[in-house]
């Protein structure tokens, strides 16, 4: 039986291997390439998406587990917080290689949706699952604060 879920606001149906991680379904079957593969064991956060609004690692989430749920990827992150985060990332020139940044942005926007004005310890906690090998962390922190203040104003 196909797995039915919502993907970036649209109904989606997947009828392949229900054990396939959501990451590969998104990338290979639904052609949404913004979500990245980094480790396959939920250690790096490059694959982060929102499942019912929560930051989740799609590389260890079987498609079967998202039946009836709502998945948002970087491509579908267009609410006020998402726009502010993407804008702040660009404004501060956060990315270097950029490969991890979709995942960083998904974690950051989930944080801001849950907490309007996060403190530095809030940021440490929410972002600790996302590795950036270019070590753009200082700018990620700055961009989260910038996005928070632009959403607030």
């Amino acid at each position: 039986m196909p797995t039915q879920f919502t993907l970036n606001g649209h109904p989606a149906k997947y009828d392949g291997d229900p054990e396939m991680p959501l990451l590969w379904a998104i990338r290979d079957e639904f052609d949404l390439a913004g979500t990245k593969f980094g480790c396959g064991i939920a250690q790096c956060g490059a694959c982060t998406v929102h499942i019912d609004g929560e930051a989740s690692r799609s590389c260890v989430t079987p498609v079967a587990a998202i039946a009836g749920k709502s998945v948002t990827t970087i491509e579908g992150l267009n609410n006020a917080v998402g726009r502010a985060v993407k804008h702040a990332w660009t404004e501060i020139d956060v990315p270097q290689c950029g490969y991890c940044q979709s995942g960083q942005i998904m974690s950051a926007s989930a944080l801001l949706m849950a907490k309007k004005r996060p403190s530095d310890p809030d940021i440490d906690e929410a972002m600790s699952g996302n590795i950036c090998r270019c070590a753009t962390y200082l700018r990620i922190r700055k961009a989260i604060h910038l996005a928070a203040s632009s959403v607030a104003s």
Partner: protein, 723 residues
């Protein structure tokens, strides 16, 4: 050099007229080779190869250096835009195709990126391209408006003649400009008149990388593409003995299992099926020719070797012989582990074999070498392999191996599959266990002070494997002293009258390679930690002692030391309860850099780094914000490696680490504050991708020693604090 102007083609694509005048970079038959800074500076202009002006006013810079985070696309576009007097908003960049004649890196003698050389190599070449194109636009306007070229100005992308009131954007003039005479020696601006260089311009790739729309190799899809994964032997040099592929072939979506020289490959109709197939393989390995030693055993052999002088890389005065007569002496042994690069994007490539030709999509750091290796694997001439250069999700040296081993593996698998496109993707386990590490090494240092506490003798012996000797970068196998092994120790910028650098190149079956900052990743630590201890032994301040010791011909090193001391309001290594300050300074890839780290003792016994001040002198600062970003990133990258980074080989030579749970990267909560000052300079620009790395670990270790009394001489700190 040929001075002739040659108009080869005027291209019409999608309604855009493009300036496309070809002039060979090199005279025909002249070999591409490494060049000195002066020779690079004297290269003639070649606008066609490096930029395209379209009817829609966009100026696209053709970037011969890969963009893997260091900002090369933005930097190269800045150089062109400056001399073209373009508006920044009209600038674009795209990757150059493989073409050694047009796109060689003259710092390397091949088409590639590395050694923090992109801006160093391209500072004049790209400016001349921009200046020549500007002159052609002016000539075109002069002809169309019937005015003298000298009465035409160009500013922010607008060509104008004040007297007639006529003006034009670049686009409408492009077609006429393409027919104008090409000026091989165009006038360059006086740097005092720069309008873009030295300012903070937004990166060209930020928006696409902040919206998930930037495209990397892993995002490439081709019609009929299959996916491959590979199982490598766990011990380096092991070969397949027997394969049981029944379970793998039973996985839905797995199409084939094939034995290749690199291991066992699984082909499937999806990435997931390929990875599941991989997990289902049972392989018996022949380890008779494998490297089976543990790191402990390697350290033992290497440490023993450092007790002997080795090959001489440098000798000053009486060298080690001078130690005997000194008032006080110190000896220390330093150990450095294998380090994986672990870029966020695991190695991957798409190879598509066609009729008598092939295509390669890859983040290719050594473009023409990768092309050659793929061609050889497929039995094709190099020019029959079309290289599509992609954004790469980091490298830190991983993509720049001397033997292009990943490109070769991808091509071997594509050939094993047959015709059509194959996307070959490594797992993170392939990456961490894949070798090409920063080589494990041991340094032994002996130093001597005179009665006044001055350092008068220095003996440094390094035991390390050579990854250059016998590689494609050393075709004659003639390397005796491997520059990548001793750089940062040889040519020390300190005036020590008696000095010797010795080197033992050790046999080792673990493949090694370049790792961000290369030799300086270990020499910087050994030199700057040992020096700090000698200064303390001689009752000298770490900053003042260094400045007094810097050679007269290295004033820029003094400059960064003075500046960083000002920034941190230096008043000695221990000026606050519970915290200490450590300094280190290096010259790395022609750039001078000093850092001060503020450190406390963490609950885990490791140094907790609160802040790092950094002064860098990289010549003309093309884009100060990208320089700061590279230094911030270099510091974070170096701190992660210093605290946790280590690939250990245990029983039977097998790596103990496989993924980020065991090979730890620095994370948000561990990143220190960073403050960067860029020394104002008119010297030609040098690199910033790598120089941020080497001073960090010794600055932290020097602070940690002042804080705890413990000299950390084994990296990573996680191991060294317990030793």
């Amino acid at each position: 050099m040929t001075g002739s102007t040659r108009r080869d083609f005027l291209v019409r694509t999608g309604g855009s007229l493009i300036i496309a005048i070809a002039l060979p970079t090199m005279a025909r038959g002249q070999a591409i080779r490494r060049m000195s800074a002066a020779e690079i500076r004297a290269l003639p202009a070649t606008p066609n190869a490096f930029l395209r002006i379209a009817a829609d006013n966009t100026v696209t810079v053709i970037a011969k250096h890969i963009e893997f985070g260091q900002g090369a696309f933005t930097g190269l576009a800045t150089l062109v835009a400056e001399e073209l007097d373009a508006a920044w908003s009209q600038m674009r960049a795209e990757a150059a195709p493989a073409n050694l004649q047009l796109y060689a890196n003259f710092n390397m003698g091949q088409q590639g990126t590395g050694g923090s050389s992109a801006m160093f190599n391209s500072y004049y070449q790209m400016r001349k391209a921009g200046a020549a194109a500007r002159a052609m636009l002016v000539a075109a306007a002069a002809q169309e408006w019937n005015v003298a070229p000298g009465d035409i100005t160009v500013e922010h992308g607008i060509v104008a003649n004040a007297a007639s009131g006529r003006k034009s954007a670049f686009g409408p003039l492009a077609a006429t400009a393409a027919a104008m005479a090409f000026p091989p020696e165009p006038q360059l601006k006086d740097p005092a008149n720069f309008r873009l260089i030295g300012t903070v311009l937004p990166r060209l790739d930020s928006a696409m990388k902040s919206t998930g729309t930037a495209r990397y190799t892993i995002d490439v899809k081709r019609p009929g593409m299959v996916h491959s994964a590979i199982l490598h032997p766990l011990a380096f040099g092991a070969k397949v003995k027997t394969v049981d592929d029944k379970a793998a072939l039973a996985v839905a979506g797995v199409l084939a299992v094939k034995q290749v020289p690199q291991g066992v490959a699984v082909f499937a109709n999806s990435t997931w099926a390929a990875q599941r197939g991989l997990a289902a393989l049972t392989v018996d390995w022949d380890v008779s020719k494998a490297e089976l030693r543990s790191c402990d055993e390697m350290y033992r052999v290497y440490a023993e070797a450092t007790k002997f002088p080795g090959d001489e890389a440098e000798l000053r005065g009486r060298g080690a012989d001078a130690l005997a007569g000194t008032a006080r002496q110190l000896e220390a042994e330093y150990r450095f582990p294998f380090l994986a690069h672990a870029p966020m994007e695991p190695s991957n490539a798409v190879v598509e074999i066609g009729d008598g030709s092939a295509q390669l999509w890859m983040g290719s750091q050594m473009v023409t070498a990768d092309q050659r290796v793929v061609a050889a694997a497929l039995g094709l001439p190099s020019e029959k392999v079309l290289v599509h250069q992609m954004f790469a999700g980091g490298s830190f040296g991983r993509l720049g191996t001397p033997d292009s081993e990943f490109a070769g593996e991808a091509a071997t698998l594509a050939k094993a599959w047959g015709k059509g496109p194959v996307k070959h993707l490594w797992t993170r386990e392939n990456d961490i266990r894949g070798g090409r590490y920063r080589p494990l090494c041991v340094h032994r240092l002996r130093g001597g002070l005179d009665a006044a506490g001055n350092i008068v003798a220095w003996d440094q012996v390094i035991a390390i494997q050579s990854f250059l000797r016998g590689s494609a970068m050393d075709p004659n196998s003639q390397i005796k002293i491997d520059a990548t092994a001793v750089e940062g120790a040889r040519g020390l910028a300190y005036a020590i009258p008696n000095l010797r650098i010795g080197q033992h190149l050790m046999p080792n079956g673990v493949p090694a390679s370049f790792w961000r900052s290369v030799g300086s990743s270990h020499t910087g630590f050994a030199v700057e930690c040992f020096l700090d201890e000698l200064l303390e032994l001689g009752s000298k301040d770490p900053i003042k002692g260094r400045i007094e010791l810097v050679r007269e011909d290295e004033p820029r090193l003094k400059g960064v030391l003075n500046r960083v001391a000002e920034m941190a309001a230096w008043s000695g290594p221990k000026s606050r309860t519970g915290r200490a300050f450590g300094v280190a300074a290096v010259k790395c890839f022609r750039t001078y850099i000093a850092q001060i780290a503020e450190v406390s003792l963490g609950d885990d016994g490791l140094p907790r780094v609160h802040k790092v001040w950094c002064a860098v002198d990289c010549g003309v600062a093309i884009n100060p914000d990208i320089i700061r970003a590279q230094i911030e990133g270099g510091i974070g990258f170096a701190l992660g490696a210093a605290l946790f980074g280590e690939v250990t080989l245990g029983v039977n030579g097998q790596p103990d680490q496989a993924n980020f749970d065991q090979y730890r990267a620095i994370r948000m909560q561990e990143m220190p504050l960073v403050e960067v000052a860029i020394i104002k300079s008119t010297a030609d620009p040098t690199g910033v991708g790598e120089p941020g790395v080497p001073p960090l670990a010794p600055a932290v270790a020097n602070a940690f020693r002042r804080l705890t009394g413990k000299s950390v001489r084994i990296l990573p700190f996680a191991k060294g604090v317990q030793a």
